[in-house]
């Protein structure tokens, strides 16, 4: 087994790792109690999985074909930049549209800041 | 795989048909959307699946997969996009003017 093949295998294993992470994150999405925790599972772990996967693919193409794919690098960078922002926006939106927290969550520190103490206020605009 | 795809297409068509037969404008539109997906898949399938390589010259030396259906689907996708966009806006306008999206409440005799 040459070095190249070894690296290719490593790349494949990296991909497999990404896949496993992805499945775990998916289970997280099922099991976790509320939207905020689920968002955590989705954005954090899924980002990890996709990054490792793309990295694996990048390495594979580099080693196997000697092809440095700008597009893959760009993709990695792009996902890296956007995924947190996207996660942030969705969570914020969820919160502002008053999706309830899970039962047994700790103190909601943001609530008085954002909505004041008026529980009866339902009008968002 | 081909047979499986065709069965999938059949299932999608059946679901689309059921939606199209319903009374809500929204569901009917959804039905047409699914129908278009199904037809695109069918078009791809009849060209033969996995029978060759990506139809881009210079990336492989195998035979290419049938490129013509792909071109046709591409055209069809664009057209279905155009049609769906128009349809959506029409449905939206109709909802705003008529106040309902239920065909059974819309009635429909032209000379009522």
């Amino acid at each position: 087994m040459s070095v190249n093949q070894l690296i290719e295998l490593l790349a494949a294993l990296l991909i497999l790792f990404g896949a496993v992470i992805s499945v775990i994150s998916a289970f997280g999405m099922i099991r976790l109690p509320d939207v905020y925790t689920r968002s955590h599972a989705a954005t954090k772990s899924a980002t990890l999985s996709v990054l490792s996967c793309l990295l694996g693919a990048f390495i594979y193409f580099w080693i196997h074909d000697g092809f440095v794919s700008i597009r893959l690098i760009l993709g990695i960078v792009f996902v890296f930049i956007t995924a947190p922002v996207a996660g942030h926006l969705v969570c914020r939106a969820a919160y502002r549209s008053r999706v309830p927290l899970a039962e047994g969550s700790g103190e909601d520190a943001l609530k008085p800041v954002l909505f004041g103490n008026d529980e009866s206020e339902n009008d968002m605009k | 795989m081909e047979s499986l795809m065709i069965i999938l297409v059949g299932i999608l068509v059946a679901i689309a048909t059921y939606l199209i037969l319903s009374r809500s404008v929204f569901r009917v539109i959804m039905g047409t959307a699914i129908l278009s997906h199904a037809v695109h898949l069918l078009l791809l399938t009849v060209g033969g699946l996995k029978k060759g390589d990506v139809p881009i010259i210079g990336q492989a030396d195998e035979a290419f997969t049938d490129a013509l259906p792909q071109a046709l689907i591409l055209t069809a996708i664009v057209i279905s996009f155009a049609v769906t966009a128009f349809l959506l806006v029409l449905a939206y306008r109709m909802y705003l003017t008529n106040g309902t999206d239920d065909f059974s409440q819309l009635g429909g005799k032209s000379d009522e």
Binding site: L74, F78, I81, T82, L89 | I56, G58, V89, Y92
Partner: protein, 140 residues
């Protein structure tokens, strides 16, 4: 309720640039790799839509004061125009020509009317896409 969009706007400014570049790339890559006028136009259009999403119609309109209907019309004209062009050269309708031209600074370049055709396609796609989205959004 006041909404603070600083994070979004910052990121989007960067992302739009990437998307626009990528769109142009797809547009030009079309002949030899996946891409082409249509998909390029869609991506470019998406970038514009992204701007509308992040900012608002008035702000974006100040930066890009186009009537997108006319952009689309221009695109169709360009696409059909290249097709019509062949009529003047006694070639079958839609015949595309290409050739090598020496352009002062860039040196010898391969230019094809297909690019014009594709540009027409791309323009139409951008124009239509934005027209549709804006029309619905402006409706009250």
């Amino acid at each position: 309720m006041k909404v603070n969009d600083v994070i979004l706007k910052t990121v989007v400014r960067m992302v739009v640039f990437i998307v626009l570049t990528f769109g142009m790339y797809l547009f030009f890559a079309g002949h030899n790799a996946p891409g082409g006028g249509f998909i390029g136009g869609l991506v470019l259009g998406s970038a514009i839509v992204l701007l509308y999403l992040t900012y608002d119609i008035e702000t974006v309109h100040k930066g890009m004061p186009f009537d997108f209907k006319k952009v689309a019309a221009l695109g169709v004209l360009l696409a059909t125009g290249t097709a019509i062009g062949s009529l003047f050269f006694d070639a079958p309708f839609l015949t595309q020509t290409d050739g090598y031209f020496t352009i002062p600074i860039l040196g010898e370049k391969h230019l094809s009317t297909v690019v014009l055709f594709e540009a027409g396609v791309a323009l139409t796609v951008i124009g239509t896409l934005v027209t549709i989205i804006l029309s619905i959004s402006e409706d009250e």
